[in-house]
Amino acid sequence: MGVLAAETLKGPSIAWFDLSPLLVLLSGAMVLLVVAALTPQWPKRCYSSFSAVIALVTIGLCFPLWHRIDVDGPSTLVGGAVHFDKMTIWVTLTIGLAVFLASLLSDDYLRREGLEGPEVYALFMLAAIGGIVMAASNDLVVLFLGLEILSITLYVLAASHRKRLRSQEAGLKYFVLGGFSSAIFLYGIALVYGGTGSTNFDAMLRALANTVPTKGRDDAILLAGVALLVVGLAFKVAAVPFHFWTPDVYEGSPTPVTAFMASAAKAAAFAAMLRVLLQGLPNFSRDYRPVLWVLAILTVFGGSIMAVVQTNVKRMLAFSSISHAGFMLVGVEAAAHAAGGPGNDGRSSVLLYTLIYTVLVMGTFGIVTAVSRTGDNATDLAAFRGLGRSRPVLAFGMTILLLAQAGVPLTSGFVAKFGVIRAAVEAKSYSVAVVAMVAAVIAAFLYLRIMISMWIAEPEAGDDQREEVRLPVYLTVAISLSVAFTLFVGFFPGWLIDLAP
């Protein structure tokens, strides 16, 4: 058939440099997987250093790209599939930081647990790609692609501690429930496609602009689609009542992986939520805003209250991360007030929160990594007992990070909370702001419990026989960076607030 031969398939033009962070991460992962498979075990610290350098290059690339957007304005890439705007770069930066810190956290951890190898690092990078694609997407299918890349790598990462049964369990649990939620999300995409005739946000907007003002808002198929999308996203951000996987998965996963899930995955999921709700479906804001309102209140309260009764620090932090997700939802709810309009501070407050929380949670789990000792099992409160005496500097670092999580002023955590509460108040969501702050007090109780264990609890018999808490170089660097960032942003938040898109 001559016709086919004459017609060359013409793909969209691609601005390769604008995609460079993704390409760097992808090549990093490929190099690790291919080269490391063909060579004998690399020397100590080589895998993690390689991964950290790739993450740093990704972070470094964000700056020229940011500048480009400053000059040329935002655009879309790959035929309108992904956004190239400050939000994309911001999330790239956030996830890049997460990969960087997670690599440092994993370095000694993997050797300690006898798991040294390149796979975990490669998976971090692949997960990062998924997260960035999610955050950048301008199309529901592309978003789903990113979501699946992120999710599947996370399933594997959760189960990556081959010697721990709980890790296997976490992986399986996450896989089953995650697959379920992906299916719900996918069904939502299908229904929205049925209602609008497209999965591209711009095309969806055009289609909705014609139908929504007349009869579209009552369109059952579209509304069901929106509802399913919200549920799918709520699962990914671990909002109550879609949070049931979180504590088990967080507790079972290797601690550096838990840190990565709490930071990068959360940042990506919230970015995706903002994209879908604000840029894809702003016409439905009056329908999903009450849902977000309820989700936010349930999540801040549920997370805080359930956290209080835990005795395992990893579980506590899992529930605390749910509570933090609730705060971010407060910001999303505030942003939803201005959906389709000129926009308010809601979106930037959520993005600011994700970045700050990423660094914060990395440091916190970094310390948990150190304290959990060989076997990654010593994560109950008792394991922290007496840390103030045996490791005062480490305990002090943990105290700062916990105070930041509680939202005490002069730490980055306060800046984050202040941002979303301010956005909520500006959007006149007073009730949700007050409820969130009161819930934060309940959550503070849990951070106090860890501090009490570290500083005040009396030593008990057998404490001397515990393995000493080691602080290897990379882990120390990661924790120090995290604490320094937490304090620096606490004292001088202006520049970061200024940057948040």
Binding site: P409, R422, Y430, A433, V441, W455, I497
Partner: protein
């Protein structure tokens, strides 16, 4: 104006001192103590210098320093003192060096002193902030060192008490934070841009009655917990009793004042209309607090808990004075802040000394101490009489001004509250009788007399008690102009008519 940033230094010096102490090696306990003492003495010296340089006729804010901090959110580093805050600053400056010099923690000096200095920085900052955000930052920061002081160096039930203290205060702060943000956002219309500047919002802000009342409520709840106002006072007896002596002195001496000061500065000043509207509620709660605190104090078997409950009663008087909204009553309330800080601070020191000697605070186990330690008993007697409010000592001036000032505007509440004065005499004298009178039995026979060092520690307290009781005029002269200015602001922004009362000499 004076360009020297004295107020900034009042915050920075103890904060830096705290850091320095934290970084000194554990093996040099003496150096730690010297550094901490020097820092607090320097801060106290600066506070006194501020007092002497204070222009007494000037009713506005003095020594103002303002720098932009977080431009994006309209937040600035804005400090200043007026007649309402100046003596609180001085009180803070005096109490900390005395506590640091006079009361040693039983272990781990370094961390204790480091937290102590951080606490001083936080308290100082709260009293001189003129920016809502900045004030909130200091108000919250205060919690952290106090939490660790109670939790780390307190008595048996310290973890429970410290946690309760932290959580109670934080619930209040949660409301206040939303209130602060809402105030700034709503006042945007009047100010042109979002600003957290107290003076700008108070002078330009015009809140609709409904809005203003909600915002006032958000602030008031935080301060009511801090004061503490009945029925939010339950954290106080626990925190006071379990805290180490130094912590109790600071807690009663200056920390509770954050509440009464906040009500005046951020409640009445920002939302005059709402404050006038909420008067009956606060007057009633204050009166209940006065009686409740007094009755509860009477029934205590633990000397320290007794003093703690007496604080609830005394602070009730201050709130009563604040919401009577007359010049004399508010001035009396402000003065009573200082008096209570001195008297109750000294009482806690004395109770601490008793505990050090006898390892108990049970009133039933103490007996006849006057026989074996007459000087100690005399010191206790003077401090106690000042707390009761006997004429000639400082407690009388404040309480009397509050009662007489409130009579015109809150007559029936005053009539009831005055019973509290009698009850104060009852519980304190009764306690004194049980502890100091009679024949000392077994362990009480060996009760040690006041030592030189302890005497030197108590001397400044007793000197202030007597001086402020006999000659309060210098203090009143400085407080009154600012109070009058505040009342003028209230009457301009609400329907409140300040009754004209002839000014006496107090």
């Amino acid at each position: 104006m004076i360009d020297f940033p004295i107020l900034t230094l009042l915050v920075l010096v103890p904060a830096i001192g705290s850091l320095v102490v934290a970084f000194i090696s554990n093996r040099q306990p003496d150096l730690v103590k010297v550094v901490a003492l020097l820092t607090s003495v320097l801060t106290g010296g600066m506070a006194l210098w501020t007092l002497f340089a204070f222009k007494k006729a000037d009713s506005g804010f003095q020594f103002v320093s303002q720098h932009s901090w977080i431009k994006e959110w309209g937040i600035s580093w804005h400090l200043g003192v007026d007649g309402i805050s100046i003596f609180l600053v001085v009180l803070t400056g005096i109490l900390f060096p005395l506590v640091i010099a006079g009361v040693d923690p039983h272990h781990d000096h370094k961390r204790y002193l480091s937290w102590m200095l951080l606490l001083e920085a936080g308290v100082m900052g709260s009293f001189i902030s003129l920016d809502l955000f900045l004030f909130f930052v200091f108000f919250e920061i205060v919690l952290v060192p106090m939490y660790f002081l109670i939790g780390g160096w307190g008595y048996d039930d310290r973890v429970y008490a410290a946690t309760k203290f932290f959580l109670f205060t934080m619930v209040g702060s949660a409301f206040m934070l939303v209130g602060i943000i809402a105030t700034a956002v709503i006042a945007k219309a009047d100010n042109g841009a979002v600003t957290f500047d107290l003076i700008k919002i108070a002078e330009n802000g015009s809140f609709a009655a409904g809005t203003g009342r909600w915002l006032f409520f958000a602030f008031a709840i935080a301060f009511a917990v801090k004061v503490p106002l009945f029925p939010l006072h339950t954290w106080l007896p626990d925190a006071h009793t379990q805290a180490p002596t130094g912590g109790s002195v600071i807690l009663a001496g200056v920390l509770l004042k954050l509440g009464t000061y906040g009500l005046l500065r951020f409640g009445v000043y920002l939302f005059p209309e709402a404050a006038v509207w909420a008067r009956p509620v606060f007057l009633t709660l204050a009166t209940i607090g006065i009686l409740w605190g007094a009755i509860a104090a009477t029934m205590q078997t633990d000397l320290k808990r007794l003093v703690a409950y007496s604080s609830v009663a005394h602070l009730g008087f201050i709130v009563l004075g604040t919401f009577a909204l007359t010049s004399q009553a508010i001035t009396g309330g402000v003065l009573q802040n200082i008096n209570h800080g001195i008297s109750t601070g000294a009482l806690f020191l004395l109770v601490g000394m008793i505990y050090e000697r006898r390892h108990t605070r049970e009133i039933a186990k103490l007996k006849g101490l006057q026989k074996v330690a007459p000087v100690f008993a005399a010191a206790f007697m003077i401090v106690m009489l000042s707390s009761i409010g006997v004429p000639g000592l400082n407690g009388f001036v404040g309480e009397f001004l509050v009662l007489i000032g409130s009579f015109a505007t809150a007559r029936w509440w005053v009539v009831v509250a005055a019973v509290g004065v009698i009850l104060a005499a009852l519980y304190l004298l009764w306690a004194y009788q049980r502890v100091f009178h009679g024949e000392p039995d077994d362990d009480n026979k060996s009760f040690r007399e006041l030592r030189w060092k302890e005497g030197m520690l108590l001397l400044p307290f007793i000197a202030i008690i007597v001086f402020a009781g006999v000659y309060p005029k210098p203090m009143l002269d400085r407080i009154e102009p600012s109070v009058d200015k505040l009342l003028e602001h209230v009457s301009q922004h609400s329907s409140w008519q300040v009754p004209v009362v002839e000014k006496g000499e107090g």
